[in-house]
Point group: C2
Chain length 343, copies 2
């Protein structure tokens, strides 16, 4: 039996889903993996709450996230640093919002956590697309792990497949449809809607954010692709080095022209190099896919990734819930895979 | 740096491809994973050959498998048991032919290897579909690993995804198109060929065996599905408990009828249970897929698998070379993942 102390930072949609999931899966993880996942504390803007154990939060008083909101136990005097020293080392779960300009608060959280000997599992992209090498070195020097499945397309396994399922194979290129909002808009436009109508529909359905710029301008795809490349290929690509073209305001004519020549228009992230000596590049932009391209049928808010290899051919992975619960499931997976025994 | 001693048993198409791959990837594995993969010996029906190290077989004299065939160094007096005691413990790579009636020689090889403290990586299905629980217990008691990626659809990652990428999620059902020969025949029949013509074409292309019974009668799919279920779900399903219907001699009318109603006919392996308390069942037979089923576009000799989960939605994995080199790559992956450090 292993006790895993968890500190959750960030209590937005993904943080809340993670809180719910840890409660739901507490017994399952004990039985299946012999791991006791003990959520010790939550830190958010309004303060910090101490939870003695997951058992306690399984009790009725703490059952719903709303109940937690209303408790008077949130205090602002306790910092992450205090908690990292208070509890036996475990894992910090970072659910703070992605900021691709400063990388914070994620970067500071990850750095502090690693320096104090804690593993990090993150759903936030900013720090890793800006300062990936620095954080990786910090972790390696201390024999700690940074896992970011939750930041690279929620429940769609991208990093695991690249790192684990393709071990021993050389990756020649990676392609992905990694942004649900953009893919939904393009799918609906191919069915006859204008960009404006398709975006409104996506917003109405909760797929697109009220401000969709980050998604439709291609930055979300770019950040995910950089993160995947840096983890899987060991590169140190910066977001600023990526050529990014989004789908914002795309006209129906462009989509219709693609259909007329039997192609499918997708917002595509690509990672490739010209030859074995050349550096890896990441690009994001519209791509015209053949009908028989393995990702051409990835429609709606669905996502997919394909790896091209030297010894295993190509392998595509498609699906995976992309809602907060899917992202939370990816965070949980990463924690389990850090602590479980090999089998 | 870790030295990994390897004994290869079986020197047919997959064994030879593995031999070639270990040479090809020796330096890559040293650099990337800090593992020295040292092939110490090959055992086959005609005898045993001792190789001092992979470095030695990299020298011209041993370069090609044909050269190896012609050497006079094959001796029949050295048994697997001798080798397991001679060398420091490592991993036995089992590339012997699948026998789903007796499970041998695979079962004996695996049992002996585990008893002497060696890990096992196998491309052979027989032992694991007949005596999975017995072998698993043997391994667990000694803290050893059995990995069988090479036996469950070559380079298509099935076991890794189920065990690793879905950690923490409960699997509700698994479906797969796992047999290249049957899928090729059905694909070509949907394009207008008769069963006989499609089979002949598959044989001509080297996709189907001269005796295709094992594939077209559904047993290969059944064996793979049992293996996946037993490893991923921890069940102990026996091949004899599986309902198996193949595609042998299927008429064009059946295929045409499917097309007329807009469906796609596939040889499908399924693993499911009626409810949470019910036992898991494996079934193999023809399935009529909707056009939008994630596996409906898996055509030709291609393969695919889909996992349905409670927290991550569905995840499909498609592709992966299914030739001997793909199977060898899966064996190599398993070895690396046994020995590499977590990251």
């Amino acid at each position: 039996m292993e006790k895993v102390n968890i500190i959750l930072v960030g209590f937005g949609r993904v943080g809340r889903a993670f809180f719910d999931l840890v409660k739901e899966k507490y017994d399952y993880c004990r039985k299946k993996y012999d791991l006791h996942l003990e959520l010790r504390s939550i830190i958010r803007k309004k303060g910090t709450i101490l939870l003695s154990s997951t058992r306690k939060i399984l009790s009725p008083a703490y059952f719903a996230t709303e109940d937690l909101d209303n408790l008077a136990d949130w205090v602002s005097a306790i910092t992450l640093e205090d908690l990292l020293e208070e509890f036996d080392k475990g894992v910090v779960v970072d659910c703070t919002p992605t900021d691709i300009v400063t990388g914070d608060p994620s970067f500071t959280i990850m750095k502090e956590s690693l320096e104090k000997g804690w593993h990090v599992v993150t759903a936030s992209k900013g720090a890793l697309v800006l300062k990936s090498a620095e954080l990786r070195e910090l972790a390696q020097a201390r024999n700690l792990m940074i896992r970011a499945s939750g930041a690279t397309a929620a429940a769609l396994p991208t990093l695991d497949v690249g790192l684990f399922s393709l071990a021993g194979a050389e990756i020649l290129a990676i392609e992905g449809i990694l942004n649900g909002t953009s893919n939904y808009i393009l799918t609906r436009m191919a069915e006859g809607l204008t960009y404006k109508k398709a975006l409104e529909e996506a917003q109405h359905k909760g797929i697109a954010e009220p401000n969709p710029a980050y998604d439709v301008e291609g930055w979300d795809t770019a950040a995910k692709m950089v993160l995947i490349a840096n983890q899987v290929l060991g590169t140190d690509i910066k977001l600023s080095e990526v050529t990014v073209r989004g789908i914002k305001g795309i006209s129906r004519e462009v989509v219709e022209k693609a259909l007329r020549v039997g192609k499918i228009l997708k917002l595509f992230g690509k990672c490739y190099r010209e030859n074995y000596e050349a550096p890896w590049k990441v690009e994001v932009g519209l791509a015209l896919l053949d009908q028989n391209h393995p990702l051409s049928k990835v429609n709606g808010s669905n996502k997919g990734i394909i790896f091209y290899t030297d010894t295993m051919g190509w392998i595509s992975v498609i699906g995976g819930k992309s809602d907060p619960r899917g992202a939370a499931a990816a965070l949980l997976k990463d924690i389990i895979n850090i602590y479980r025994k090999k089998q």
